[in-house]
């Protein structure tokens, strides 16, 4: 039921979901506010919301080793949309969910995608969630993405969220909230690079409410040129739990990086740690790679690629 992909749509799909063709398994491809294709499977159902734009993704209990792709493509200049996607993941699942948004803006009007994702992760389920953002296009129009993610984790569940934004997004404001119950754990890995005059704000909040719950938030970022980044994290422990947040940023040129880690412990057995480091590329790292034959620019590129790998 999928339509043929255009060259631009293919490029965007490759960049945000490593997809070269329409994926196998369950998927929903949204393009310029409409549905480009959808496939459901025996275990994974995708239903269009009736009260607002967006979809419900319903994964049956016990679904293992299956994946859902829900990429969003925008190729129309001036398109602004707000989408609500809700994931209902049954108990004892083990699934991979790949979202992501690619904007190709060839015009002079701003294109904007705001996605509000809500996850209900059932007992003892394991979820890997990947969200990549990518912008391109020769137009002067801004490419804006404001993703919001709410995650409710039931007992014994585990979710790993990986967010990647490497280039082309002028402005992003990411908000993530997680509520973690007994024996459940969440791992968030963020990779972000901003350049020119881009602005990126990320704000993570994790509430560890259950015994033996845990959160690990790791952000690695590179800020180039005149770009500005703000990293906020807040881990709140109200039970015997473990929380760790780490923000590690490379600052270059005239960029500005702000790191605001926050911890709140409301239980004597809550163990919370935060680490934040901002610095330029170490001179000795550049020198070492130059003694191996790289130019300063090549050395810089290797260091950044490795850092964001």
């Amino acid at each position: 039921m999928a339509a043929e992909l255009t060259a631009i749509q293919k490029t965007l799909l490759e960049n945000i979901a490593d997809l070269h063709e329409i994926p196998s398994g369950a998927y929903n491809i949204r393009s310029d506010g409409g549905m480009l294709g959808r496939n459901t499977t025996a275990n994974i159902d995708i239903v269009t919301k009736t009260d607002k734009p967006g979809i419900d993704i319903i994964i049956k209990p016990g679904t293992k080793n299956q994946s859902v792709h829900i990429p969003v493509l925008i190729t129309q200049t001036g398109l602004k949309e707000m989408v609500y996607n809700e994931f209902f993941i049954g108990e004892d699942c083990d699934v991979v969910i790949v979202a992501g948004c690619g904007i190709h803006n060839a015009g002079d009007e701003g294109s904007e995608h705001s996605g509000i994702h809500t996850f209900h992760v059932g007992k003892n389920s394991k979820v890997k969630y990947v969200e990549k953002h990518y912008g391109t296009g020769e137009g002067t129009g801004e490419r804006v993405m404001n993703p919001s993610t709410e995650i409710y984790m039931e007992e014994g569940s585990h979710l790993e969220m990986e967010t990647i934004q490497i280039e082309g997004i002028n402005s992003t404001d990411r908000r993530t909230y997680a509520k973690v119950e007994e024996n459940a754990s969440i791992v968030i890995k963020e990779k972000i690079m901003t350049h020119d005059n881009q602005v990126a704000v990320t704000d993570f909040k994790a509430e560890l409410v259950g015994e033996n719950s845990s959160a690990d938030i790791v952000s690695r970022s590179v800020a180039k040129n005149h770009s500005k980044q703000t990293f906020k994290s807040n881990i709140i422990g109200t039970s015997a739990c473990k929380g760790h947040s780490e923000c590690d940023a490379i600052i270059m040129d005239q960029a500005i990086v702000e790191a605001i880690p926050e911890l709140t412990a409301a239980n004597i057995d809550a163990s919370l740690i935060h680490e934040a480091a901002i610095g330029k590329i170490a001179g000795e790292q550049l020198i070492k790679l130059m003694t191996l034959g790289l130019t300063e620019e090549e050395a810089e590129e290797q260091i950044i690629n490795g850092f964001l790998k």
Partner: protein
């Protein structure tokens, strides 16, 4: 062939508000072969190596490499001409793996077996290390061997090692000697090793002694080493193999 002509290097000493001469008018010609540089700490050995590698630029004098004047060439240019420098204190990289660095050092896309070969040469169990990040999780000794493996992978006409033994335990040091014996046997070109270890000096063809920014001795090992060792008799029961030619002895000798 490397030639230093009247090379000096001065830095400004901010505290004293004056110029300090670290290297004083050194002239030195190093032919192909294995040359060890030794001398007391603070004598200018590492500075000399950094001047050769291009990390520092001489305040006076000229450096020639195979007849070309490289005095004002960048680190990268010198590296491309065939100069490799293994640091005394290896650098850590978040995110770059051992394999990444060995690939960069080799200057081409090498396969896993080749990369592992270089690690095995320095006594590292290659499979355990090849995908490790070169970050704080590696010990000083492990980093040091990876640094040496990178230098081997580059196979350049001139390789400088700054105190390869520093940070390596005694047991591993035995293996390290074999590594350098191997390099000496199989590699062409020049190898310059800054070292305090008698066993390393012992496998050199020539030895340069530097103290106070000047060359005090330069000659064949058989001439220089016995001179250095005179007066450096190990205490009874000490392992003579690991006699460290430390400061006091040398300073005495050089007076």
């Amino acid at each position: 062939m490397l030639e230093l002509r009247n090379v000096s290097y001065q830095v400004s000493d901010d505290d004293a508000g004056e110029q300090k001469e670290i290297i004083k008018n050194i002239s030195l010609t190093i032919e192909d072969g294995f040359v060890a540089i030794t001398g007391p700490n603070g004598g200018g050995k590492s500075t000399l190596a950094k001047l050769i590698a291009g990390i520092y630029t001489p305040t006076e004098g000229q450096i020639l490499f195979n007849g070309d004047d490289i005095t004002n060439m960048s680190i990268t240019e010198r590296s491309k001409k065939g100069i490799t420098f293994a640091f005394q204190q290896p650098v850590r990289f978040k995110g770059l793996t051992v394999k990444d660095l060995i690939k960069i050092a080799a200057g081409k896309n090498i396969n896993i077996n080749e990369a592992c070969g270089y690690l095995s040469e320095v006594g590292l169990c290659a499979k355990e290390y090849i995908d490790r990040e070169v970050n704080a999780s590696l010990s000083g000794g492990e980093l040091k061997r990876i640094e040496i493996a990178m230098a081997i992978a580059r196979k350049t006409p001139l390789t400088l090692f700054d105190e390869p033994e520093a940070g390596i335990d005694l047991w591993s040091f035995q293996n390290l000697i074999h590594v350098f014996e191997n390099i000496h046997e199989h590699a062409g070109g020049s190898i310059i090793i800054i070292s305090h270890q008698e066993r390393i000096l012992n496998i050199a063809d020539k030895i340069v002694v530097i103290a106070g920014g000047e060359i005090k001795h330069y000659g064949p090992k058989d001439e220089v080493l016995p001179e250095l060792l005179k007066g450096a008799v190990p205490a009874p029961g000490a392992v003579s193999d690991d006699t460290t030619l430390g400061c006091p002895t040398l300073l005495d000798k050089l007076k």
